[in-house]
Amino acid sequence: MPKNPMQTKFCDLMGIEFPIIAFTHCKDVVASVVNAGGFAVLGEAMHTPDDISADIKWIRSRVGDKPFGIDLVLPASAPGADTLEKLLAGIPEEHKKFAQHIKEKYKVPEPKGAQALHQWGGLNQDIARAQIEVILDEKAPAFVSGLGSPEFMLKAAHERGMKVFGLIGKTRQAKRELEAGVDAIIAQGYDAAGHTGPIGTFSIVPEVAAIAGDVPVIAAGGVTHGRHLAAALCLGAAGVWTGTIWLACRESDNDMIIKEKLIEATSDDTVYSRSVSGFPMRVLKCPWTAEWAKPEAPKTLNSPYQMLLSSDYIQAANDHRRADLMFEAAGQGVAFVESMKPARQIVFDMVEEALAAFEEITGELPE
């Protein structure tokens, strides 16, 4: 009897049925995926410790003892912070004029309220520590660091019976985190939405799998179909980390306009652009990214200046639900976001598609 390819060492580690991890900012998606037999991780980078505590309790009330994860973006580097006024004063006049030109050309209205950006606390290790403390207090089943190394809090997490995963973009980062003792490594490739590493998914996954030993490697970047899951397992991964595929699902709290854009989009409709934040990130194309890509545009500024420039465009687009202006971070696998399916259906479809892909190759399915 052939081995069930879905029964991986990540499934054994976490006690789950399917090696599919949903990364989402919507706790309804977390609950649905977990209850469907997958694993889900809630992104909490922007949330206060009180909100994080409430979210963990909410999820537990919906999934019982089934495991789930909480993700934070731990910083790996930090410049000296500065006051908002000094930062705004640091934006060159040429860039302010160019941003104004975009707003006039596309008739971008004023944001309805104070910009969320201007109310956020900024780069400060105290924020991350307060968030981590509550995740430890609540003993979330798993903590995921979406960028920096979680090494400093590994012992505290393991003492509480928690698992810790690290998301990396280069093999040397994986080696460092494996040596520290993470329970799983998420190898994120260039196809991913948002902050990707410089190496393609097809390249980084087997490279990291070759050094990971018994530690499960999770493939991330461009995974939206069961064929990607099957391919990831063949590359040596023990599961897949998925993000874009959940953005348009029925449970997602994304604006309907964004869901429709995602459904219409193909891999050619994303761009790796510095124009949103000053950092390169993969997003759906929109007028803002298109204008900054033109030869006559000034060079994008570094963060946080570029983010300060783009923030009222973004907030206005969302406040006024301007479909022509709105965008979202999305990976190159967006072509397989084809409808607003329930999250559990996405899990089951992905598993069936993967098994069908294996059957095409081997001619038989496991019992």
Binding site: S77, A78, Q115, W120, G148, K170, R172, N302
Partner: protein, 91 residues
């Protein structure tokens, strides 16, 4: 470092002072739920700050020979595990 953190303990590590290194840096994008990666190369001064307990150690890197385009200034704080020394084998 920014707005002197409440549980920060500065120090100096002579063993790393003056060594050339790369930093696989980055962090949360201000005001958003997104993150981004940034790469730096420079000299570790030896100065560090330990945040909280357990200590989350950050080293100061200066004389930057690699930094993102438009990055202001010539210094960056790097989390200990994001630093890869030029004289070490990372493979």
């Amino acid at each position: 470092m920014a707005d002197t953190p409440r549980d920060a303990t500065p120090g100096f590590d002579a063993a790393v002072a003056g060594r050339r290194a790369e930093c696989d840096g980055g962090g949360p994008v201000l005001g958003t739920r997104y993150a981004s990666r940034q790469e730096f190369a420079g000299t570790i001064t030896g100065e560090y700050v330990d945040h909280g307990d357990p200590a989350w150690r950050w080293y100061l890197m200066t004389d930057l020979t690699l930094k993102p385009e438009g990055y202001p200034g010539d210094t960056v704080w790097c989390e200990k595990n994001s630093i890869f020394f030029a004289d070490e084998d990372d493979t």
